[in-house]
Point group: C2
Chain length 404, copies 2
C-alpha cells in the first residue's frame, strides 16, 4: 500500500473530542512487537504495533466526514513493524511502518487511550457512580419549563436520573403532548406492545396486565419480560382525584447491597439463576430468561429484574429450590422494609422519571369510585439517556469517559 | 387467610395455554418440605411446598382476567406445609395447606412444569434450533402478498428468520408504506436515532455513518453501539440502477463455530473480553461495552457484535493485546472467506429480512454516477419476533415452550 502521508502537525483524529496534552512523551523505544513510551511523570505505556496501526487517524484510514474507520486491521501484514519512530516538536509521535504507511499520533490521544495497568485503572475509576438511597431521600425535583428551555438544567436532571435513579418534574401542563415533549427533549421514545405511550387508568377489560386494574401492585420493574428492560420510565399525572394509589419506590441497588451483606449466599442465588418472566396476553407472548440481580463485567450490580406477577414457575434443579425460595422471599421482604421505601402521592402536573432497571416502583390499591385517576407513561432506553448526557457534556473540561 | 375453595374440576390456570394430560399421576407422597409424585411412566418429580403454593392457580391467587398472579409467596408462612393431598378422579391433585388455603393442580400442568432432572433436560432439548449455513444456502424466499394475507405463510417466514437468520421477500410494492406494512404484520418497529425507518442512499453530508457513503462496508452487525443490538433488520429496495452495491452475508454463528473448532483460544478471547463500540456523531454519542461473541447461559453462541468502523481502541491488559489482535484478525479473515459468503444483488421489489445479531452483512462499493440506488430499512427486536411466533403457534399441538 502506498500511503498518503499525513501532515506531521495534524490535529485530526478519529474522534469528536479533543485530547489535551496534559503529559508529554519523554522517550519512546522500539521493542519486538510494540513500542515503549515513557511519560514526563515516569509512567510507562506499551503500545503494540497492531494497536497503533489499527488506530492510525490519517484521512486514508479514517473517513474525514464520519470520523469512522475505513482501514481494517486484518489487512495489515502479519509481520508489520515500526521501522522508525520520532517525537515531534508539538509532542506528537510519528511512526514509519514497514509497509510504507506513516502514522502520527497526538500525545493527548495516546495518553487517554493508554492501556498500561495504571491508566486502565484510572479510567475505570472515572465511571459515573451510583448514589444509593433509602427512605429519607430528598427526591431530586426539576421544573418542566426550566428543563425544556435550559441545557444545563436538562443535564442536571439527566445526571440525577442516571446516578440516583428517581426524579420528579413539576409544573407539567395537563396536556397529552407534555409527556412526549419532555421525553423528546432527551431522545426518541421506546415503543412497546402497550404503545409509544401508555395510559394508566382502569380498563373495563383488563386482560393484558395487572397494571390496568385498581389492584395494589408490589414493587417491580416494568417489562422484565423483555430481553432489555426499558432504562427509564416516565409517568405523568394528568388527574388524580381518586383516594389511594400512592406511588412508592425502593432503590433496588441499595436492597441488593443489603442482601449481599446480610446473606452472600442469597445474593449469589439471585445473581446466578436465570428466572423466566412472561407476559401472558391474548395478543402477545413475551418471555425473557435472566437473573433477578444482574451484574456487570466488574461484578457490580447493574440491573434488577422483577415483577412477581410476571414470573413463570421457577425452573431450577430440585436440590436448589428451597434455597432459591429463601433468597427470593428475603429479597421480597426487603422491598417491603420501611427503611427503603419512599412514598409520595403523584399530583396532577407532576411526573416521575426513574431508572426502571434499578428503582422498583409499587402502587397502593386505589378506590375507583372515589374519583378519576389518569396517568400517561412512556419508556426510554439507557442508551439514549447516556448518549444525551455525553453530548451535553462535550466541551466541558474533564468530563467522564464511559468505560467498564 | 381464609381461602375460597377452588372447584375440584377447574380447568383454569395461570396460563393461556392448555396442558394435555399426556401422563397420569400414579402416586403422591408427602415429604418434609415437598411432595414426591410418581407418574405412570415411572418418572419421579418432586414439588416443593413453596413452589406449589407460589403457583396456586385459583382465582384468589391469580387474576381471572389477566391470568397474572396476585398472591405473593413472601406472604406464605415460613413453616407452610401440605396437611393433606389427594388425587382426583380427573387426574388433578388437591393440596390442603396448613394455613387453610386449598389448591388444585392439573396433571398436565404439573408434568409440563416438573423440575426433576429428566423433565428439565427434555424442555431444554425442545428449544428452537439454529440452522447454520454457508455459501450454498438457498435463501428462504417468500412472496409479499402471501405473507400479508396468510398466517401460515407468515409463520413459515418468521421461523426461517429465527432459525436460519436470512430471508428474502419478493413482490414488494415500490412504495414507502410497504416496508412498514410488512414489519407491522409482525409487530411494532424499533426506532433508533436514524429514525423509525431509515433511507440508504448517499447523503451530501455523510457525517453520521459510513453506511451513508458509497464506500464498501465490511461484514458487520448494525448498531453494535447499543446495549441491545436490534434483532431483525429489514432492507427494502425501491430502486437499484447503480453499478455495484451487491449485498453479501455470512452466518456469524457458523463462523464462530469454525473459529471455536480451529482455535478454542481465539474463540475464548472474543467471548471473554468486552470491546467498546462507539457511534461518533455530532448529535449522539452511543457507546456499548460487550464481547464480539456473546454466549447464552448454556454456553452456546447467541450473538455476534461487530462493526469494524465503530470499534473504540481496544482497552485490554497489555499482556493480552497481541493474542487479542490475533483472534480479531482470525475472525475478520473468516468473514471474508468465500466458503461462508452468500452474495446477491437486491433488486427493486425485493426485501432482505435477517437476524442482525447473527447474520453479518456487507456491501460492495457502488458507483454513484451510474444510477440511482434507494433502500429503506428498519429494525425490530427478537422479543417481538419470538412473541409473534408463539402467538401464531398457539393451539398447534406440541409447539415448543421456550426455556433455556
Amino acid at each position: 500500500m502506498n500511503a498518503i502521508a499525513s501532515p506531521a502537525n495534524q490535529t485530526f483524529s478519529a474522534d469528536w473530542r479533543t485530547f489535551e496534552s496534559t503529559h508529554r512523551l519523554r522517550a519512546v523505544k522500539l521493542l519486538t512487537d510494540s513500542l515503549e513510551a515513557t511519560w514526563d511523570d515516569d509512567r510507562i505505556s506499551h503500545y503494540h504495533f497492531l494497536w497503533l496501526r489499527d488506530n492510525c487517524p490519517c484521512s486514508q484510514c479514517v473517513h474525514p466526514g464520519t470520523r469512522e474507520q475505513m482501514f481494517e486491521v486484518v489487512d495489515a501484514p502479519g509481520n508489520l513493524a515500526a521501522e522508525s519512530i520520532s517525537l515531534n516538536a508539538t509532542g506528537s509521535l510519528t511512526v514509519h511502518w514497514s509497509d510504507g504507511h506513516r502514522s502520527v499520533y497526538e500525545a493527548g490521544w495516546l495518553r487517554s487511550h493508554a492501556y498500561d495497568a495504571l491508566s486502565r485503572s484510572e479510567r475505570a475509576d472515572r465511571l459515573y457512580s451510583v448514589r444509593p438511597w433509602e427512605s429519607d431521600l430528598l427526591i431530586p425535583t426539576f421544573d418542566y419549563s426550566a428543563v425544556m428551555s435550559s441545557d444545563p438544567v436538562l443535564l442536571d436532571w439527566l445526571l440525577a436520573a442516571r446516578d440516583i435513579g428517581l426524579t420528579m418534574l413539576t409544573g407539567m401542563p395537563a396536556t397529552g403532548e407534555a409527556l412526549e415533549n419532555v421525553a423528546r427533549r432527551i431522545s426518541f421514545i421506546r415503543e412497546s406492545n402497550f404503545g409509544v405511550t401508555f395510559e394508566v387508568r382502569t380498563k373495563a377489560e383488563a386482560a393484558d396486565s395487572n397494571a390496568y386494574t385498581a389492584l395494589e401492585l408490589p414493587a417491580h420493574t416494568d417489562l422484565p419480560t423483555r430481553e432489555l428492560q426499558p432504562g427509564l420510565q416516565f409517568l405523568h399525572c394528568l388527574i388524580n382525584d381518586a383516594a389511594g394509589g400512592e406511588s412508592t419506590f425502593v432503590d433496588g441497588f441499595a436492597i441488593a447491597a443489603t442482601l449481599r451483606a446480610a446473606s452472600p449466599e442469597d445474593f449469589r442465588l439471585l445473581c446466578e439463576h436465570p428466572v423466566e418472566f412472561w407476559n401472558k396476553a391474548p395478543q402477545s407472548d413475551y418471555r425473557s430468561y435472566a437473573p433477578i440481580i444482574g451484574l456487570d463485567s466488574r461484578g457490580e450490580v447493574s440491573e434488577i429484574r422483577l415483577a412477581n406477577w410476571l414470573r413463570a414457575p421457577f425452573n431450577l434443579p430440585a436440590s436448589e429450590m428451597s434455597a432459591f425460595y429463601r433468597a427470593y422471599r428475603h429479597f421480597s421482604a426487603l422491598t417491603r422494609d420501611s427503611r427503603f421505601i419512599v412514598s409520595r402521592r403523584l399530583e396532577a402536573g407532576q411526573m416521575w422519571c426513574f431508572d426502571n432497571r434499578r428503582t422498583m416502583h409499587a402502587r397502593k390499591a386505589f378506590d375507583q369510585a372515589s374519583g378519576k385517576r389518569f396517568l400517561r407513561g412512556c419508556y426510554m432506553d439507557r442508551d439514549e439517556l447516556l448518549s444525551r448526557i455525553l453530548v451535553l457534556q462535550r466541551g466541558e473540561p474533564g468530563h467522564s469517559i464511559r468505560a467498564a
